[in-house]
């Protein structure tokens, strides 16, 4: 019997991948710079373990950890084992874990040392020889940001930015730049060595299932598209609230602040996905083209507008979860005269045909009343309320609420009749929670992103021009805030919903949604 027609040009297509959920990843060597750091221990190594457990790593997979700590291979493996056992989302199978750890190498040294790169090159060549083919290379920069250009440049000097008959990629953690100028400079430094197609700038929010589901919700449902414009939408609120302080991260946070920490990257990505036009396909560049277009349609505030369009604040002492907490200026490691914001709220406009006149409000802060990341799309009120005269005080505009964390899901608020003889209306929620509708649990964002980087799929990574567009929106605010050294920084009580000044950002009868 001759079986059904299949692809016979095997050199072009692999006929064996049809129907498989997990597509092959080419043999890869992953080099993690900053392998002994917090991100590596909490996220990267556990993500790699979970990929190994699921059989998702390439058939040939090698890992080199690079850091300044003077560890032997075995000491690094022991540290990695401890991290994986502590932070993995599933209890490790010791056989798989031993297999993964057994292949790990560790190279100690300074990131600006030529010797380190010589050793990396030598080890990679050993791997190639052992596999009898050149492995793809992924260099993962999980270091302090000042080392990003150094490492990129040294990789180029050592001839490691490309490899004959294999792909070489560089993954760069956030923050990508400190402001517009530094981001442009970093982009230029990285692109001097690597082609844009080799560069994978991580924003781990994009690896979250719910963030990707934002695209599914918009582009796989005819229900929303007709109302997704200025004719029906009154305004949008994007909130990323945290109920914790800065912890032991004063050193980082004092230099960053809320605007750089969350708004410039995660929240602006949410805004882009929410407002972009449908891409013609889900290819990396088609999606990123649409995100870029909408980001470029956001007019950055002029210096004179910053005060009217933004609010910054710091948390003062207060009570969170029944516990008294100190204010930001009393936190260990924080300059008592610091002007770093722990809260930022913005009003932005997307100046295009779809969104003209629809304000988008963003707020983020630490030590707020509740931990929640959500997008709230508020529709315009109905044009005529027939029930007005018979007690309809509860009628509210519809809202579409997309919760990113902690309880991932979508809810829609609707007006419904209160049971009884009279026509009284009040809002009710129609809720969809991921946990009730899918059998599988979401993989960690880093699992998806590491795998995508190894595959060369850049859809969920930020392109160079996109990162510049993001900074171009935020930079005028940073500059204006930096220039203003005298106005008092508003304070809000820890455990509250934020500063009262943020209420003034909202026009007319609009109110921030309760945290």
């Amino acid at each position: 019997m001759q079986s059904a027609a299949v692809a016979t040009d095997f050199e072009q297509d692999n006929p064996l991948i049809a129907g498989l959920e997990r597509l092959p990843v080419r043999p890869t060597a992953l080099v993690i710079f900053g392998a002994t750091g917090d991100l590596s221990h909490r996220k990267l190594l556990p993500a790699l373990y979970n990929l190994a457990h699921e059989g998702a790593l390439p058939e040939r997979f090698e890992l080199i950890g690079v850091s300044r700590s003077e560890f032997s291979h075995d000491e690094f493996r022991n540290e990695a084992r401890e991290s994986i056992e502590r932070f993995s989302r599933r209890r490790p199978d010791q056989n798989v874990l031993n297999g993964l750890l057994g292949e790990m190498r560790y190279l100690p040294g300074s990131f600006d040392s030529d010797e380190v790169y010589g050793e990396i090159g030598k080890t990679l060549r050993e791997f190639d020889e052992r596999a009898s083919e050149p492995l793809n290379r992924v260099f993962y920069l999980s270091t302090a940001p000042q080392f990003f250009p150094v490492i990129a440049s040294k990789l180029g000097d050592a001839g490691l930015s490309e490899c004959e008959r294999a792909e070489t990629r560089i993954v760069i953690e956030k923050p990508f730049g400190y402001d517009l100028a530094s981001a442009q400079q970093l982009n230029a430094q990285v692109l001097e060595v690597f082609d844009e197609s080799q560069v994978f700038r991580i924003d781990h929010y994009l690896g979250k299932e719910t963030v990707q589901n934002l695209m599914a919700l918009r582009f796989a449902n005819a229900l929303f598209e007709p109302v997704w414009n200025r004719n029906f939408i009154d305004h949008v609120q994007i909130t990323a609230a945290e109920d914790i302080g800065i912890g032991g991260r004063a050193g980082y946070y004092e230099g960053a602040g809320a605007l750089r920490d969350l708004v410039q990257n995660h929240m602006m990505q949410l805004l882009a996905l929410l407002t972009m036009e449908p891409p013609s396909s889900f290819d990396a560049d088609r999606v990123r083209d649409e995100k870029l277009k909408v980001l470029e349609a956001i007019v950055p505030p002029s210096p004179g507008d910053v005060a009217a369009m933004t609010v910054r604040a710091q948390y003062g002492p207060g009570t969170v979860g029944g516990k008294r907490v100190t204010g930001y200026l009393e936190e260990e490691g924080v300059d008592p005269h610091s002007r770093t914001e722990t809260y930022a709220a913005l009003k932005l406009h997307v100046s295009n045909w779809r969104w003209a006149g629809v304000p988008v409000y963003l707020r983020t802060g630490k030590q707020l009343a509740r931990k929640v990341t959500e997008i709230v799309v508020t529709l315009k009120p109905v044009p005529h309320l027939a029930f007005k005269n018979i007690g309809s005080v509860g009628v509210q505009p519809n809202q579409i609420i997309l919760t990113v964390q902690p309880d991932e899901g979508v809810s829609v608020s609707l007006g419904a009749k209160i049971p009884g003889a009279t026509m009284r209306i009040r809002p009710v929620n129609m809720e969809f929670r991921y946990g009730t509708s899918f059998l599988s649990e979401s993989p960690e964002a880093y699992e998806r992103l590491i795998l995508d980087a190894m595959r060369g799929d850049a859809t969920l990574f930020t392109r160079g021009d996109e990162i510049i567009a993001l900074w171009a929106i935020i930079d005028p605010i940073l500059q204006a805030w930096k220039a203003d050294t005298t106005s008092p920084i508003p304070q809000y009580a820890a455990g509250s919903a934020g500063p009262a000044e943020a209420d003034a950002l909202l026009d007319g009868d609009r109110r921030w949604r309760r945290l």
Binding site: M1, Q2, S3, A4, A5, V6, T8, F10, E11, N14, P15, L16, I17, A18, G19, L20, E21, R22, L23, P24, V25, R26, P27, A52, H53, E54, G55, L57, P58, E59, R60, F61, D93, N95, V96, L97, N98, G99, L100, G102, R130, S132, E133, P406, D407, E431, R433, G435, T436, S437, F438, L439, S440, E441
Partner: protein, 352 residues
């Protein structure tokens, strides 16, 4: 996990459905954070005497529980329905999911009209999966219009040829998830990966050997794997013959002048499924993958490089995991199972 339970003797489907609604209403009134899962109905038809064993298997599926499981336990001589419903939830979670399981003891005479018992109890408008591991063909027939997916295990039947024939019959009537096919998934993934690099991909046109090592009762899985590669590569296959009691052997013809030597070899293994696979090409090259601790042990032999070995990492799902995966797969559609099944049947046509 916490549980709310209800039971009744000599009951009827309306009473069972009403009891489920009441359990749900009471639980929701007590804790609004709990919502019923609404993903999948699973109907399981079993012999009453094996109900415990099947319940244990369902317990071990982990996070891939169906939303509402209806376990129909068939007992000779019974002419009434006894039912037991349990609603499970984790009250410690802020927002949690409730799962429901109903066990209905019934007699053989209920099976021909099983749809009238089960239809009022399934959750409407979500996929319904049927698993009937102990046969009960009249129940399968009765539920035909109600179910979207048939879950079966071709490795479970004593006669793999009959099992594959039955699977093909079912496939003509509903979407089939075959656990024997799922046991081949890691092997299919690894073979696809092994031949994915452009240089290696060309070798697919010159394969000359395909050996599958399998646990003795998993001939169906082995046939499906051989059927899969045959169908994917467009081989012109010939029926396998018994190899003097040591498995099956046969040939497939390709576009090249060579033929492919196909062998299925039973080996000792403590768990069902495949034990290893060896692929040969251009007479001189072989790649073997064999079960090992922590994944698959890969061995490659070539004239230039001799033999090399390495570990391909991966954790075992176990048999509980296979059933869970079967439930999860009910939401997906694999277009390669049908061609693989038909090729497997063609390969096994002379197997007695």
């Amino acid at each position: 996990m916490s549980e709310d339970v209800w039971s009744a003797q000599d009951t009827n489907p309306d009473a069972i459905e009403a009891a489920l609604r009441e359990l749900l209403r009471e639980r929701h009134a007590a804790n609004q954070g709990l919502a019923p899962a609404r993903v999948l109905n699973l109907i399981v038809v079993v012999d009453r005497s094996w109900k415990g064993e099947i319940s244990n298997r369902l317990e071990r599926v982990g996070r891939y529980h169906a939303s509402r499981t209806i376990l129909c336990a068939v007992e000779d001589g019974r002419d009434t329905l006894d039912a037991f419903a349990v609603m499970s939830y984790d009250e410690r979670a802020g927002i949690g999911v409730i799962r429901e399981q109903v066990e209905i003891d019934m007699g053989p005479e209920h099976l021909t009209a099983l749809t009238t018992i089960v239809d009022p109890i399934v959750i409407a408008e979500i996929p319904t999966v049927l698993w009937s591991p102990h046969g009960h063909d009249e129940a399968v027939e009765a539920l035909r219009g109600l179910v979207d997916v048939t879950l079966l295990d071709s490795d479970d039947a004593p006669d793999p040829v009959a099992a594959l024939a039955k699977a093909e019959d079912e496939l003509n009537l509903a979407y089939v998830v075959d656990l024997a096919w799922l046991r081949t998934t890691p092997w299919r993934e690894r073979l696809a990966a092994s031949f994915d690099s452009p240089g290696r991909r060309a070798s697919l046109a010159s394969l000359d050997g395909f050996v599958v090592r399998h646990e003795a009762s998993s001939t169906a899985s082995a046939l499906l794997l051989a059927g899969w590669i045959s169908s994917r590569l467009g081989w012109d296959i010939r029926p396998l013959e018994s190899a003097n009691g040591s498995g099956l052997r046969g040939r497939a013809y390709t576009n090249s002048p060579r033929y492919v030597d196909i062998r299925l070899e039973p080996v000792d293994q403590s768990v069902p499924g495949l034990a290893g696979v060896t692929v040969g090409w251009q007479r001189e090259y072989t790649l073997s993958l064999d079960r090992a601790q922590g994944g698959l042990h890969a061995r490659e032999a070539s004239p230039a490089r001799g033999e090399q070995g390495w570990l391909v990492l991966g954790g075992s799902r176990g048999e509980g995991g296979i059933l869970g995966e079967g439930i999860r797969q009910s939401h997906l559609r694999d277009p390669t199972y049908g061609p693989a099944l038909r090729a497997a049947r063609e390969l096994s046509i002379n197997v007695g």
